[in-house]
């Protein structure tokens, strides 16, 4: 089982968001970057579990400049065997997906895993785009992944139940909560990660969309405190002021 896991670097979830250059660029000064939680906790860990039971390899791939190498090291420390960095400052998801699809094209990965979405640009786009570019089946927001014989058995949550999808491989999946539990790298993993090499591949730019400008949402007005003894007032306000009841 050879699995390719797409990982992306995102600002730590507690980052205070601000912009520079006339609101055209994210201000990354003093920001701590982490592996996108869906990619790390769910996609990568499930890939490693499958490798541990079935054999094979786990390769992580990320599109970005040299500054993203710490998150690649983290993925290697958790247990990935190989790592690829496509040297490109991608402008949009299509550019990212094209770079990954081009790399993966003749490499015979059985499964390509992406996360549900990045927590910075919140697109849920890259996985589906890779599948489109490689003409492979795609299951989005998968909560379970098992291998049965030469098929992948995937589950997704639907309204009032689950759907169990059996697919030939190769296929592309995006991973949501449920697929695995987060793992913490151990000392051996961290030491081993230091000596692993990161393959760097040149990328080509070809974006379809671009960010014109950023803005911060209008600040919320201060909370209205209600006397705990007067829940009738709260209900009245929800009815007549907020108009949600």
């Amino acid at each position: 089982m050879d699995i390719l896991v797409c990982i992306s670097q995102v600002p730590d979830t507690t980052t205070k968001i601000s912009f520079i250059d006339n609101n055209s660029k994210f201000n990354d000064d003093k920001v701590t970057f982490i592996v996108n939680p869906y990619d790390e906790w769910y996609a990568l860990v499930r890939a490693l579990e499958l490798k541990e039971t079935l054999g094979g390899s786990v390769t992580v791939i990320t599109v970005g400049n040299a500054s993203v190498e710490p998150i690649i090291r983290k993925a290697l420390a958790i247990g990935a065997d190989n790592a690829v960095r496509i040297d490109l400052d991608a402008v949009d998801s299509f550019e990212t997906a094209s770079a990954i699809a081009t790399y993966a094209k003749n490499k015979n990965f059985n499964i390509i895993l992406a996360g549900k979405e990045t927590i910075d640009y919140n697109g849920s786009e890259v996985g589906g785009m890779i599948a489109g570019l490689l003409n492979l089946p795609f299951v989005s927001l998968a909560t379970k992944l098992e291998i049965v014989g030469d098929h992948a058995v995937v589950e997704i949550d639907i309204e009032g139940g689950v759907e169990v999808i059996t697919s030939k491989m190769p296929l592309v999946l995006s991973a949501a909560k449920g697929m695995a539990e987060a793992r913490i790298p151990n000392m051996r993993g961290i030491m081993a990660a230091r000596t692993k090499t990161i393959e760097v591949v040149a990328g080509q730019s070809n974006n379809l969309v671009s960010v014109k400008s950023f803005e911060l949402p209008a600040p919320k007005s201060a909370v209205k405190l209600i006397n705990p003894e007067n829940m009738e007032e709260l209900v009245q306000l929800l009815h007549s002021e907020a108009k949600v009841i």
Binding site: D157, E163, V164, V209, E232
Partner: protein, 326 residues
């Protein structure tokens, strides 16, 4: 250059997300001075599809075939592309729900059509084509330019309200080659009993609780409150992690993101990762015994006090309100 909206019917009707996409499509077509077509799938009647005419869509292509019964993103993507070709559409609009997330990126990559997913505004069309969407989990908004001739927009649910506009509406059957496709997937559905349960992602009202509830045995009052107002129930991550509540109730950065009209949070501190999944709610009510809890900064209404006393009182007040207003 015209506009195509894709929407699935569910149990024979076009639900809220679909109506929002339909009305949005009609408004985009008006901005671009062009016409709009709806591609609808599922076992709906022509009459039930004519509701599209109440939101400004005069033409519906209805694709109903056994090959569409199970959702295979490859087949659905092909169907949408075939409908776009037939209608000469250069703008394709869908909802940013589970279906939209599975097919919009695929179509974007195949057609090389720029995609903005989770749009929260109508496009600005003078001197380009740009649309706003939430980024950084709702902590900021970005305006994206779509630089390609073909464009795809997936609309964030509950963000652009539908506008009524009556036109006469014609429904035509359309298969678009779907009868010849063979799914590479085997898809089985396992349902659990949901009678009386409200689907969280689509709920208009949500009652959510966190670690402040102390244990699963105390959820009765949360469910009672939810039942009283017809709300879905949700929870914070630690609560689903320790198994007090089912995983599908976990909202936030790493669970699901919801945008109800009303979110009532009980005994939840309001960590940034929790807020990331709920800050799109129209109105937030926070019940917490700690006046310093960060959630109060994101709330519209707050009650400082013990949930075990406040929740039953709130439920009683809602019951009283309902008996007076029905």
């Amino acid at each position: 250059m015209s506009v195509l909206v894709f929407a699935q019917t569910s149990k024979g009707i076009l639900k809220k997300n679909a109506i929002e996409a339909i009305s949005y499509g009609a408004q985009v077509a008006a901005l671009l001075n062009t016409n709009v077509t709806l591609l609808a799938t599922g076992t709906a009647t022509a009459e039930s599809l004519q509701v599209a005419g109440s939101f400004g869509v005069a033409k519906v292509l209805h694709a109903n075939h056994t090959n569409l019964n199970a959702f295979d993103s490859q087949i659905y993507s092909q169907l949408v592309m075939n409908a776009a070709e037939k209608t000469g559409a250069s703008v394709i609009i869908l909802s940013h729900d589970a279906t939209g997330k599975a097919i919009a990126p695929r179509i974007s990559a195949i057609l090389k059509a720029g995609l903005v997913s989770g749009a929260i505004s109508l496009p600005a069309v003078s001197g380009g084509f740009s649309i706003k969407k939430n980024v950084f989990s709702g902590k900021a908004i970005a305006e994206y330019s779509i630089n390609t001739e073909k464009k795809i927009i997936s609309l964030l649910p509950n963000s652009v309200p539908p506008i009524q506009k009556q036109v006469s509406c014609e429904v035509e059957n359309f298969l678009g080659g779907v009868e010849e496709t063979i799914s590479l997937l085997k898809i089985e559905t396992k349902t659990h009993d949901t009678s009386g349960e409200i689907n969280l992602p689509e709920a208009e009202l949500v009652v959510s609780a966190g670690r402040g509830m102390k244990g699963p045995e105390n959820w009765g009052m949360i469910e009672e409150l939810a039942k009283t107002i017809g709300a879905a129930t949700a929870c914070s991550r630690p609560v689903s992690d320790i198994g007090w509540r089912p995983h599908h109730e976990h909202v936030g950065q790493t669970g699901i993101a919801i945008r109800p009209n009303l979110y009532i949070a009980v005994g939840i501190s309001g960590a940034i990762q929790h807020l990331a999944g709920v800050n799109g709610s129209k109105v937030i009510v926070v019940v917490n015994k700690d006046a310093e809890a960060p959630f109060f900064k994101a709330a519209d209404y707050g009650v400082v006090g013990d949930a075990f006393e406040i929740v039953p009182k709130l439920t009683a007040a809602f019951k009283q309100f309902k008996s007076q207003n029905s």
